[in-house]
Symmetry: D3
Subunit: 243 residues, 6 copies
């Protein structure tokens, strides 16, 4: 069920349905030339739809996607929109508080942008202290099981990747109409020595926002990972949420 498609009578009944609210959370951020700026937003919406289908529509309440995220690392690149952790977490927490008034007791944030992690955590802890909503934080859970099996290119960095084999494969599977694979590049930038230990905008060391090998992306790789992610999210939500 999509919240924004419901009428007031239906909304009144939400409290009796044991629903898990799903909040797609993306970002507006440059992703090189083969992927659009809205990549994370498109992925968040498509992934949420997959999850809703898997859970069963009678178990899920899909919220409208929050398109804007925290993109500190690429904030200097024209086209990126950067929201502070304070504002982003505040909005997420207030969404949760309103859902509580509707009788919802579970909210999963279906996030596709690593940079949103801190704000999500802040919001979830605010809600932990001030509401009865249980918040799940999902950023592709389970992907780490499948990626080593299906991906061929080396990881560009132990903690980060971007617009690369992985993320492009997601797009080829979930939103192929937004990929121009003819412009895909393979880029392994030289990270500054101290990159992991001091704030470093990515624009300091690469002009095009691609971290890894986008050329080797395929729809099949995307499918393999995403299907496991969707399954994993259902496992985590568990039987209480998905009946």
């Amino acid at each position: 069920m999509k919240l924004i498609e419901m009428n007031q009578a239906a909304a009144r009944g939400l409290k009796d349905q044991n629903l898990t609210a799903l909040l797609p959370l993306g970002a507006v951020e440059v992703h090189g030339d083969h992927l659009p700026i809205g990549t994370d937003l498109f992925l968040a919406q498509a992934l949420t739809d997959k999850l809703e289908e898997k859970m069963g529509k009678e178990n899920a309440l899909v919220l409208p996607a929050l398109p804007y995220g925290q993109v500190w690392s690429l904030r200097e690149a024209p086209g990126s929109v950067n929201i502070s952790n304070e504002i982003l977490s505040g909005m997420i927490a207030q969404i949760g508080k309103s859902l509580e008034k509707a009788g919802i007791r579970r909210m999963a944030i279906v996030n596709t942008h690593v940079g949103n992690g801190d704000a999500m955590k802040m919001a979830s802890r605010m809600l932990y202290d001030t509401s009865d909503i249980k918040v799940y934080l999902f950023t592709y859970p389970g992907a780490e099981e499948v990626i080593p099996k299906v991906c061929e290119s080396p990881m560009p960095h132990k903690g980060y990747f971007h617009a690369c084999e992985i993320e492009t494969s997601y797009m080829l599977y979930l939103c192929p109409e937004w990929v121009d694979q003819s412009k895909a590049i393979c880029q392994y930038p030289d990270f500054p020595e101290d990159f992991d230990y001091t704030p470093t905008p990515w624009t300091d060391f690469m002009a095009t926002a691609v971290l890894g090998d986008a050329v080797s992306a395929t729809k099949e790789k995307g499918e393999a990972i995403i299907e496991r992610v969707v399954e994993r999210m259902c496992e985590i939500l568990g039987k209480e949420a998905i009946r």
Copy 2:
């Protein structure tokens, strides 16, 4: 042009194109049983698309809609999501700051929810003081010229209407697929005597969130008003913005 559909190369060129960014701003709020909870969001997106077309796509940069707004008056109704002025204005202002980095100098907020007015003003003043972005605040400008000519039902209140002849007509024109006119009602609630002068949740005096006569809404009325609104927004933006 839609920002989220652009790639990085295109985004780099934004600074040379004299564009006006358009930010659709809606709300998640109950609108009775004949209109969906996402009414304001659907309207904001559709109205922005109309405006983009009228301006000429080469003059406009459409941003992803911000779905969540300030809905204090109906915050107690299950299904509504209420964001504080502080958080909402902060997010709008930060969007503006990021656009400035891309070389954008004009942003119009295409808003469809009256309750967002204070937050929009706060954001616009923050940006006035801290950026070179000129912000336009649009909440159906020009509608006031046409409404008295085409609408038949009396206004329920001098300052407020909701899910009524006017708003339902907008929906019938812009998003008819989301209207179930068979459930439209005509409701003129008894406002408390001091309603205009003291904070009063609308849920205090009506169970279904309809202020006015939704039954008399028609697509034609919506068209007459909306077309003038689109025209009026273009007039306000002026020749500098629309060449």
Copy 3:
């Protein structure tokens, strides 16, 4: 009763008297050359005194006036003092919280400056959520009924007027000693095309802060409007407040 004139014994008895606290709220803002910078403050105090008298002194608790308000539009004019919405609303809300400790359950803000509207609303909503004080927001209620009948000059703008026929008439009736009518001017500035839609300091388009025709002001016009405003405030407060 004036709060600041009471002693501690009298204050202890406040809780048993079903009083409405009246907070005069003005601004320090230039009003051209025929009216003083303290115009809004003088008016707020005089209007509150009228209201107190009409209500009956046994029903009202007059607070000391808060002289400083939000004057964004004229903040650049030497002599204006501009307080942010955040600080102004915070002070009003804290006044309300303290009154609650004294057993007061009703506070009316008698405001004479349109720019204070947002801060007043913020304060009233804070108190709605955190206290048992009911807050009334009064900015010349009822004036809109009389103005079209007694005023002769056209309105300079649909939403704003300043130091004009209306406000000067108020002063001629309530505080004639502060008016130098020989310096009154009639000024209809050319508003920028987009004035209503983008933040625009008034100092951008007029050197002297007069919006309208101050020359046509008379004491009689002021009397007609103000007497209705006072009456209207009593009607709104209602029988529970005025016994």
Copy 4:
């Protein structure tokens, strides 16, 4: 010169006159039964008028008094109004920022309530860092020289006194119309042992807010102290301010 009595033309000339702005700062706080709740406000206004006269009106710009102060210690007493340091200091600092726009370079806070000290310091440091206004903090400077000479009753506490011989004498000299000396009492409460070292509302140990011997107050004592205070404030402002 009183700011609120000036017109806009006069305000424009403020920048050329080397003026010191005087901000009377009081509090709304119970002062027993012989003094009114507005004692600190009345004193702040009267003291400022004395100072203006002594400085020469051509050297001073008197601002409207800020009536509300920080009254933590007596906040539980009905009739007291307590403003937080954050809000109070914010308002004072914003007043200073606006004066800077008018070309004022010196502001003296003429304070009569010890509890306002922290907020005044906070405001003055904010302005030190963000403006060119020099702020003077006056809470009866020089009084400490005269008090031991003219007062007869022992101090109730090394750091605090309230509505006592000293303050009542001030009132008898400056605002005798507000004193009902027939209700004056002499009260030396038993302070809790740890009073100086832990937050302790005064209402914990006395029902009537009098700390000291109000009975022994006289107009002559008040005159002796206040005249020295006025003189001392002029000395501190110095020749640059008073020509």
Copy 5:
């Protein structure tokens, strides 16, 4: 007992022991050339140890010292570290809140730096309103009784002294290993006329941060004062705390 030396089992038992937590609070601030930058920190720790011993270890729970304080007056001197009142008070208050969870009901801040006074007060009032912890604020209580008896040099200022006879004597008694008395100086700077009444960094009028006569300091003077301070702190805490 030192909190950081305890294990979890011991911490579980804290709630049953009627303990007073002692928080040493210092500052990082230049103290001329004969005393180290950590003077206030060393003193806070040593003084707390003395107090713990006097109270009896079974009555005290010593917390790790907070080394950083508010040093506005010397913030411009290289080597000083200045923490804002807002951050410092927030940390102290949050320490108190956590102690409350461990069952502690009394916390004494053993402070050695006058500049921390406002933040301490803010923290203690926050805890007064939001916890059951009783907070004691100690900045050398009782010292004022002994100083006039044992010190020989005149006070440099009625309210301030720094790295002088008094403070150097404290160090000679408590931490002699950190004193290089061969570099002690006697310095009575010319305070600006308006020093007491307007924000004035000490670096404006003295290059070396010594206010008073460090040469006349002795261990014996330090001992006399400190022993009384320790005794006085015990008196204030009283029999309930020290059994």
Copy 6:
């Protein structure tokens, strides 16, 4: 060099010495019964001393340790002290700002508590935007290379460990006097299924705060890891910092 041991003359010379400031950052948190509550603080100080020695004392400026950290996960356990990210990051950033005044251009945070990570990042980004200080964030860098080689017990969780083989080994190497190995336990709690995805206090699933096998800890393991960590920190700081 320890900042708190320097005198003012030495501090004045800091700006000419190309120093890296080292800020030890710990936490006050229960660590089972074999390790003390101050474990993280003891480790931060000892590790910083090792680093200072390795860098050469002429290259390092050791700051006093900040003992209090963010311990959300164990905040409910008596003895833990939990500081919010907002306050902790604010204090770190303000320390950096003051060091900038002394001419320092590099600050390394030597952190031993994973929970401090978010606050450290927030502080480093604040300083990135508002100062010329380059901030390094160190939480045992390089440990991940050695742990798999020397540790024998399985990791209790992919992202967390606590008071276990690893941390106890650190203590046995760096601060053996604070370890009571006779009380070491081996504990692999059953994490809730959704532990990684929703805020979960550790006290929900274990009574004694040990995550892993403390019994298998040895001084040699600690030495192997810590020596690499120290070496790695030097590599990251690089030749510009260590000459």
